[in-house]
Structure formats: C-alpha cells, structure tokens
Symmetry: C2
Subunit: 359 residues, 2 copies
C-alpha cells in the first residue's frame, strides 16, 4: 500500500523528486560523483544555483528589486537576523500574533529591538486572527511582522494585514509556494525549506535590496543579509544537497502548472477534509472558518480517550505522522504540496471507518 | 573506470555510504519514508541522533566534560560564535596563522574582541608554521586559536601549539577524524562536515561545558552555544539529512578500525604521493617537510604553461577536481579519509605518464 506522510516538517517530498535523487546519486550531471561530493565552486554546481534562483524568481514573480538568498539556521535564525539587520535597540517592530511561531518570533526580536504586538498575546491555543486597530500602529516602526500560516494551530491569513504604512515582513515557512501572492506587497519574506521547498537545512529569504546593508549594529558576517546578497549565498560552503533538492522541487512545482495550479489543488484537498470533519459529530475543528489553513488541518476526536487508538491504527494503515503538536493536542494532517489528493481520500476513508467502529 | 574525487570539499564520500543512502531513500528504518521526510522529533530520528553522538564520543574519546553540538552555518559561523560566546570587546584572543582560513578567522574575530597573532601575518602563500615565543603570549587571553590543517596551502600542525596556559581552540575542519589526538588538550574544537564527516550543512563542535553560557554579550539564540548544548542541538529543526549522512560516515570509520587505522592509511597515502613528487624534477611541493598535510597535497608543475593540459587530461581519466585554489595556484589532491589508496596509485600513474609525455 502507498504510504501517505502527513508530517508537519520535515515533510513529504514528491515521489518523482525522490526518484531523481536516487537516479543521480552515483553520477550527477556527468561528474561521476554525487552532487553531495562536488565543490560548490564547480561550474556544474554554480549552473545549478543559477537555475535554482531563476526558477524561484519565475514561480514567485520576484523582480530584481529583491535579493533572494539561501541562509542556514532555519526560520529560528531569521527571528534574530531580521531585527539585528533592519532595526536597532532604539528601533521599534510590530508583531501580529496568531499562534506558536509568532510568539517565538516576537520573543527573540524583543531582545534586539522594542517590540509591540497588534493585540494582547494569548496563552490559549489560537483559533483565529485577533482584530486590531491599524490606525493606532506606530507609523515609524521599522517593520511589521506576521506568520502567514501557523502550523500548530492551523490558522492562516487569507488577506494582507493592515500595517499603517509600516514595511511588511512575513514568516511564510509553511505556506510559501502553496498559494499565489504578490511579493511586491512585502519588504521581506522568509521560509525554511522543509515544508514545501525541499528539505531541512536552508531558509529561503526574499528581501528588498534597499533594506540590506544599512544597519549600524555589529553583526556577525554570517548573520548579515549583505553577505548573502553580495555573494548570491556563496560566501562560504553552503548546504549543497538541500540546495539541489530545492531545485528538484521547484522543477516539480513548475511541472504541476506553477503556484496557481498548486493552490487550486491545495484548496480542493483542504476543503474536502474540512467538509468531512464539519459534517461529523465524532471529529472537530475549532478554527474560525475565515482563517483555516489550507496546508495544516488540525482536528480533534470528541472522545480524546480514543487518541492513541486512532494514531496506532492510522499509522498501521500507512497514514503517517497524524499526531498533533503537544502544545495543541489532538491530530493534525499537514497536507503540503507533495501530499496528493489520494492521500486525503485515504485519510477520510480511514476516519469514516474509525468513526463507524468507535462512534 | 572508477572515478576518484580529489575535491577539497564538499568531498568524496565512501562508496558504501552512498550505497546505503540509495538503499534507504524510499524506506528509512521502516518508516515508509526517506529520512529527509521524517520529523526530527520522531523516535526514529532521535534514536539516530543518540547513536550519532555516542559514536562520535567513542571514536574521538570525548568525555562528558565536553558538550558535542551540531551547528549550521559552516566553520565561517564559528569564526564569530567563538569570540562572541567566550570573549568580549574588552577581552583578548590569540591566533596562530599558517594559511588562508586562519587569516579569515582572525579577521572576523577582530570585530568582536581584541586579537593578536603569534607572528606577523604574511601576504604570501604559507609554506610552514611561523615560529613564535610562547612565553611572551598574554596569559590572560580568553583563548588561543589555530587551524590544525590549512586546506589551501597543505600546511598541517603535527604537534600541539604552545599557548602559555591560554585555553586552546582549534578549527579542525579538514583533519578531524583523520588522525589521533587528545580532546582533553582543548577547550573547543570545530569542524564543518563536508571533508571527513559527511556533507555540507553542519559543523561539529566539541566544547568544554564550563565554557558555555558564561557570556555577557547579547547573542542571537541561534548563535549561542548554550542553545545547542542544552537541547542536544534540537532547539529547532536541524539539517536532518546531513545528520544522517554523518552517522553513516561514523559507522564507516568504525568499520575501518577507527581513527588510528584511518590515520595509518592516510599516512601511507600521503607519503606515497609526496615521495613521488619529491623524486620528480617535473613536479614540486613547496611545503616544509615537518608540516606537510596528510590530507591536502598541493603540487605544482615546474612548467605552469602545462596546467590546463594537466587538468583536462586528468579529468578525462576520471581523476576529478585536482585544480589548486586560485589563491595558491597549481594543483591540489585532497586525499581525505574516503579517497582510497587505489586513488593515489591511479593519480601517480597518471602523473608519471604525463611527465613522460610532456617532460
């Protein structure tokens, strides 16, 4: 039986991507070596990096006004790189919080600049995006940050936040490449790769060039955006294999018809699953309908004593990694780009049968 | 014909390691997924990480007095992490320089602490380790740093530097796991993985626990050793695939008989190549015999006009990546652990024939 992997990240890769990795493992591009064994300064590798950047720009419509960078350290490192590069201890940054990662981001940023949140930060599990009065935001703030999709809670923005003119920055770790948006609305966007862009080890960063290299802070060279922008991320030996997997995934996205076609499929997948949960008295989703995530679908069993049974039986049926994050509980189906509609159908079939037997 | 890869890094992997990667690409550890697709919080992955740490401690004889960490960002990031974590703007660090990477390290460190070098820093290509008077070193310095093997110049320390009691730190990027040494002589050791420990994307760091978490500097969480030591490098999603490849390489090292057996083989490999170069009037190595590298063997053609011909013909004979670094010129054979003695013999055969035809 086919395995369907609902892991929240590191997450499923397209099958054809894994097949190509296997095919090229002993001879990549005629080198007689694996891509893992080839110098990042070789023509083969720099050509690959050129294609990678060009394809990312094409798929996301990124103009030359923006630098694109591949930075190690995960989204977590961006939580500090952003304030140390474009703010200061005397500066100010605004954070909109709608879940776990936003809370982590504002906490780290608050060590390097003055931060405020658009609304009081809740200790509870978020089930919506708190409203705020945009006209009261400090227009002189250095930036406005939000998390477009909270993977734990399954709370996603389906509109642009109002910022009162403050430059917009976004952690798109879990939904970049899953939906159409306009890069030009942003000053900076970042996403670690292990959800929809490949595997763990690199973070994709898009940043307006005129924001780079302006800081008066003393910044380690490896945490300065200028280092990456000036060298096209070739300042030191980059994580070459994750770069390569990213290119394979971008080619796959293009072959699917690009981001718009991917989004259409993601909407089909998520609405089918939400519709099933909503019609059931056995399962439950608590998130407000206008901010439900198209890529992370948390759901709960009304009878939580059945949780372990649900997880054991689903895993035995080759539906993997459905356990919700411990901070939220219940179940979570992460249905990123690489999870096919057949995986949703298999999950719904299982859930229906589990409800019939245990309901 | 077999391809021999003399790349300086990313570098050759053992063939059996690549074979195992291929074998497990569609089903790692019974998960039905690739290791790239599995959560770092899963039992399968944390078990793997446990084995990885235990095996590294066993092969290198690392006691519990030391934390071992896997940090992204390459050795380059360590150039700043070291001074910001264990020194201060009012502090002092001493650097012994014997090549390109040492120069880069002191330059970055000098942005965050006061640095001195043991001897004047040369603009020329290093061909030895400059002598210095250890008794004149500042005994109150926070640390003493050196690069045990300079990959560009092929200049390697075959003894411990004298530090006048100052805690010893070492960039062992290109020779960790290639030779026996005593960790207890050091306060801190680091090595990025893409030479002898796996693939690019992680840096292996060994650090005395009592040095960690003592800084008064304001440090980004992701560049604080405490973050990695306290969480066993699980603070955020780590580069999971490079972790996995590291474990496969460590298992391979153990199967070879451990580091002592590996070193014996490396000495055999390097001395065979040096002996050939030394007896030739056609080739030349400029490094002082007492500090020649056992893992990077630079050599020059007396007639440099033949360089392009040498590179084209060697590559066509499946002897790959022999071009020297542009800062040094000539040729370089990086003969790390994964390059077998047969590769050295094939290289010598080629060099002998090239000399016969062109000499």
């Amino acid at each position: 039986m086919t395995v369907y992997n609902f892991s929240a990240g590191p997450a499923a890769l397209p099958l054809s991507v894994k097949q190509q990795i296997a095919d090229e493992l002993f001879d990549w591009n005629g080198t007689g070596c694996s891509v893992m064994e080839v110098s990042h300064r070789s023509k083969e590798f720099t050509d690959m990096a050129d294609e990678n950047e060009a394809l990312a720009r094409e798929l996301l419509n990124i103009t030359d006004e923006y630098a694109v960078m591949l930075i190690p350290g995960g989204a977590r490192l961006q939580y500090s790189m952003l304030p140390i590069n474009i703010s200061s201890p005397q500066g100010h940054a605004i954070y909109a919080i709608n879940g776990h990662w936003g809370k982590q981001a504002i906490k780290e940023a608050g060590r390097f600049t003055q931060v405020t949140s658009t609304a009081p930060i809740s200790d509870d599990v978020y089930a919506n995006i708190p409203a705020y009065d945009a006209s009261s935001l400090n227009q002189n703030a250095d930036y406005f940050h939000y998390t477009s999709n909270e993977t734990l809670e399954g709370v996603q923005w389906h509109r642009l936040p109002e910022t009162n003119g403050v430059p917009l920055c976004c952690d798109m770790t879990s939904d970049l490449l899953t939906r159409v948006f306009d890069v030009n609305d942003y000053t900076m966007i970042y996403a670690s790769a292990q959800k929809n862009m490949g595997i763990a080890g690199i973070t994709f960063v898009i940043m307006k060039r005129d924001m780079i290299g302006k800081s008066n802070n003393l910044i380690p060279t490896m945490t300065d955006y200028k280092t990456y922008a000036d060298t096209r991320s070739f300042y030191n030996t980059p994580p070459t294999f994750p770069w390569y997997v990213m290119l394979l995934v971008l080619r796959w996205v293009k072959a699917q018809g690009g981001v718009a076609a991917i989004q259409q499929n993601n909407q089909l997948k998520s609405s089918r699953l939400y519709d099933f949960v909503d019609q059931s008295d056995f399962y439950l989703n608590k998130v407000a309908p206008d901010c439900r995530s198209e890529v992370n679908v948390p759901f709960w069993l009304q009878d939580e004593s059945l949780n372990q049974k649900f997880l054991a039986e689903s895993s035995a049926t080759d539906l993997k990694a459905l356990k919700g994050h411990m901070a939220v509980g219940g179940m979570r189906a992460s249905i990123y780009n690489a999870v096919p509609i057949e995986g949703i159908d298999a999950l719904i079939d299982f859930m229906r049968e589990f409800e019939r037997v245990n309901g």
